[in-house]
């Protein structure tokens, strides 16, 4: 008999279209309502039907927020999932499935579709599965049913009733199924009940909403599309123009037009789309326009693995665009950071009049967990625009690197921006001395940005031990692995990866040894750190198979490297 007291990891796998997403959505809602902490993440194939997709749900007494390779319970809906999850199912895993569809030595037969057919429709099988898990947790039956009813509220009455019945029958099975196999003693945290649950995509879209974003445009591209969909959803309740554009070149140029007219525009894409935007990115640098781009990374080059995760576009963003101009790159590690950094991205873009990229990845945008309502802070009323007067000069050199930004139709002056090198008024110039002054004006912002760059987040004391360095979405897995380690480590996490703050070399040198953990093959961030600080990084732990770092993988690195 297995007994779990802190956390249960459940993996659900089946082919695309079999309803894994519905099971995830329903279970998340029900279990959170019960007062558990919850994390879910998915990995999926680039197809609409067939293949194998899986979702992991972790149910815990404490907050969990990272992907784990350990599976306590596996619910397999097709045969392919057996091979697909071979590294995530151990002899310790309780494997549930339907004998008719799945063959596995440890399989516990649960006739999901048989029960569903008995109720009247094979499609109710998902709700049977939800019921089995609810039964395992002994959730409140009435509350669980209410979630199901709400989920199917827009369907016909017999569909609603059938799913509710499927939930009840699945629930009833659980006692027998898990008897002598699994006992749960996961404490509920009532404080968590008041928390919110949303995905990384939604964290970013909500940050944009709080930043006053009123224009969002994109060309659909996995995994960046979730932010567009969220903004479209929010546009039903808030003043946001959401436009799907003909291509990414159009996207970035449209966003720049929107900023020029005084809107706050957000662009969302992935690496390939961003590659197409780089000329427009350069234009933002030249016309000194604010621009906020969310780039959800997926493995490249080219089309790569369209639905999977990587952190390999850092060098692309660092160097994107011809010519020299400053940019800021932010990389959230938590949902709270997804929200706050996106809000900050708009503030920086507006204050300094330059492009800011929020660099996330598939793993980040597709993961959900419960989190407190973020500190919303002050309303972003200040648009950092001025009412122009006659004789207004958009690129006035008197004001230093950042000249007051006017917009057309607000004041008496004319707002002139030009992709050519320009004079202070914004007209084309070939005055080469002026050209050099304009270069210094634009690049002068970098020094201001450096001074304002936040220090990386340090957990643990840097001493003689090892400093584990991460950036972006690997934060949570490193934190969880460290919490379970025997000590001797500190963790330095960067959520602003460029520009880096001054004094970083001193901080890095405080540790005896430095390990950078990142999801790419080249050690891009490690190289950036070495280049910027001159401090040698002794070890790089790199992963580039399209899956995020699991807690266990980092734990084994720590065990070996202490």
């Amino acid at each position: 008999m297995k007994e779990l007291n802190e956390c249960v990891n459940i993996v659900l796998a089946g082919e695309a279209g079999q309803g894994i997403q519905s099971i995830e959505a329903l279970l998340s809602r029900i279990l959170k309502q019960e007062g558990y902490h919850l994390f879910s993440t998915k990995e999926y194939m680039s197809r609409i039907r067939g293949g194998v997709n899986s979702t992991q749900i972790r149910v815990s007494s404490r907050r969990v927020a990272a992907y784990s390779k350990k599976s306590d319970v596996a619910v397999l809906l097709n045969q392919e999932s057996v091979a697909h999850l071979k590294d995530r199912i151990s002899t310790d895993t309780i494997v549930l499935g339907e004998k008719a569809a799945v063959s596995h030595p440890a399989l516990i037969d649960v006739p999901f579709s048989g029960i569903a057919a008995g109720i009247g429709n094979k499609l109710f099988a998902n709700s049977v599965a939800v019921g089995v898990i609810c039964g395992l947790f002994k959730t409140d039956p009435a509350r669980s049913e209410a979630v199901i009813s709400q989920h199917y509220a827009r369907k016909a009455a017999d569909i609603q009733k059938g799913n509710a019945e499927a939930l009840r029958q699945g629930y009833a099975l659980a006692g027998e199924l898990f008897k002598d196999k699994l006992r749960l003693n996961i404490k509920k945290d009532k404080a968590g009940q008041g928390e919110l649950i949303y995905s990384g995509s939604e964290a970013i879209a909500l940050g944009a909403l709080a930043a006053g974003c009123d224009y969002a445009c994109a060309y659909p591209m996995s995994p960046g599309t979730g932010v567009l969909t969220a903004m479209a959803e929010y546009s039903k309740a808030f003043d946001i123009i959401v436009e799907q554009v003909e291509d990414e070149i159009g996207v970035v140029n449209m966003a720049l037009g929107a900023w020029y007219a005084g809107a706050r525009a957000l662009v969302t894409t992935s690496g390939g789309g961003f590659a197409l935007m780089t000329e427009g990115f350069s234009l933002a640098g030249m016309i000194e326009s604010p621009l906020v781009i969310h780039l959800a990374q997926r493995p490249g080059p080219a089309t790569g693995l369209p639905t999977r995760s990587e952190q390999a576009d850092l060098n692309l963003v660092l160097n994107a665009g011809h010519g020299e101009f400053p940019r800021v790159i932010l990389a959230p590690g938590t949902l709270e950071q997804g929200f706050q950094l996106t809000k900050r991205a708009f503030a920086i873009a507006e204050k300094y009049q330059l492009p800011v990229v929020i660099l996330s990845d598939q793993y980040f945008v597709d993961s959900y967990y419960d989190t407190p309502l973020p500190d919303l802070g002050m309303a972003a009323d200040e648009r950092h625009i001025v009412k122009t007067s006659p004789g207004y000069r958009r690129y006035d050199l008197q004001a230093g690197p950042v000249s007051p930004r006017g917009i057309p139709g607000h004041g008496e002056g004319f707002v002139k921006v030009d992709s050519d090198e320009h004079d202070e008024a914004g007209h084309i110039t070939e005055d080469l001395g002026l050209r050099a002054r304009m270069v210094r004006k634009r690049l002068g912002k970098l020094e201001l940005l450096r001074r304002e760059a936040p220090q990386p987040e340090l957990s643990g004391e840097p001493g003689a031990g090892t400093m584990v360095i991460s950036w972006g979405s690997t934060y949570q897995a490193v934190e969880e692995a460290l919490a379970g380690s025997r000590g001797g480590f500190c963790h330095l996490h960067f959520s602003q990866v460029y520009p880096l703050p001054p004094g970083l070399d001193q901080l890095l040198k405080k540790a005896g040894k430095r390990i950078v953990i990142e999801s790419n093959a080249g050690g891009q961030f490690a190289m950036l750190l070495e280049r910027e600080t001159g401090v040698h990084i002794e070890q790089k732990v790199l992963k580039y198979d399209g899956m995020p770092f699991a807690v266990e993988e980092i734990a084994s690195v720590l065990a070996a490297g202490r």
Binding site: G194, L196, I197, E202, L206, L209, A210, G212, D214, Y215, C217, S235, K236, A237, F238, D239, I240, I241, V245, E246, D247, I249, G250, V251, N253, M254, A255, L256, G257, A258, Y260, A261, G262, A263, G280, L283, L373, L376, G377, M378, A379, A380, D381, I385, P390, G391, P408, G409, H410, E412, G413, F414, V415, K416, V417, D418, S419, D420, H427, I428
Partner: protein
């Protein structure tokens, strides 16, 4: 007060002496003045090329962006502040070559903007290569055996796509060009004016004289509401018709279709959003 005329003299114009662009500039400024527009509420948007320098030579707001990319920002500017009059301007290479995809989709969206395309059937600023509208057979430093690809017919394309206002003018005739531009600006919707223009430096075939001899104005018998008739006139090749080919006020504009303007007509920059509304929304949606 800033100068309230569109006339702008504080600039050194970078066009070749005798260029058709001068006539178009004259026609455009006169059209803007006669339309009684406020320069402070008028934005000229362009890409790159000789024609795309036009915004620098008119007293108005200037957005001079990237080659081929005038239409996406022009669409967004109008969408974010419908109080502005937005005119996009560029050459045949800029709008029909590099920016071709944006043209197709701008026609589909139908923002209330005017698009002026200086069509000299050649690439001037890059020194004489073929453009999308260069006639077949013309030899250039790159197309050394003569142009093979069929020229793009912007009017037929726009009419086929359902552009609601499609016209052609000729820089040879400033007065009529001005009249056509005025109609395009006054039109509520996407208005394309293709403007024939001699390139004195690089196009030795389609000269001032050639345009005079090869064009003819549409007469009173032409009904601009007749889309099929307009298309028939657009594909005529013997003599190239000038005037308003097609005009259909029925289409709804992009910005007027936007939900943000259903209740509130203010441009976006005048609006604000309360943190309370966001807090309530998040609590309701993600609890």
């Amino acid at each position: 007060m800033e100068n309230r005329s569109f006339q702008y003299d504080k600039c050194e114009i970078a066009w070749c002496p005798g260029c058709g662009n001068f006539s178009i500039r004259k026609a455009l400024i006169a059209a803007l003045e006669e339309s009684a527009l406020d320069p402070a509420k008028t934005v000229l948007v362009s890409g790159i090329g000789q024609a795309a320098k036009m915004p620098h030579y008119v007293n108005a707001h200037v957005y001079n962006g990237l080659h081929g990319r005038a239409l996406p920002p022009a669409t967004a500017i109008k969408a974010c502040n419908p109080e502005l009059t937005v005119i996009a301007v560029g050459g045949d290479g800029d709008m029909y070559g590099e920016g071709g995809n944006h043209l197709l989709h701008a026609i589909r969206r139908n923002p209330d903007i005017t698009l002026l395309v200086h069509d000299n059937m050649i690439y001037g600023l890059t020194k004489g290569q073929a453009s999308p509208t260069t006639m077949t057979g013309m030899e250039t430093p790159v197309q050394v055996f003569g142009v093979f690809a069929e020229p793009l017919n912007p009017l037929a394309l726009a009419i086929a796509m359902g552009a609601p206002f499609v016209a052609r003018a000729s820089a040879v005739d400033v007065e009529q060009t001005k009249e056509i531009i005025k109609q395009a600006i006054a039109f509520n919707g996407f208005a394309l004016v293709d403007i024939f223009q001699p390139c004195v430096s690089f196009n030795k075939l389609n000269t001032f004289q050639w345009f005079k001899e090869h064009t003819v104005y549409l007469d009173a018998a032409h009904d601009p509401a007749d889309r099929v008739g307009a298309f028939a006139r657009a594909i005529e090749a013997e003599k190239l018709p000038l005037g308003v080919f097609y005009r259909s006020p029925a289409r709804v504009t992009f910005e007027s279709s936007l939900a943000v303007y259903k209740q509130n007509k203010d441009p976006l920059f005048k609006r604000s959003r309360s943190m309370e509304s966001i807090r309530d929304f998040m609590k309701k949606k993600y609890a």
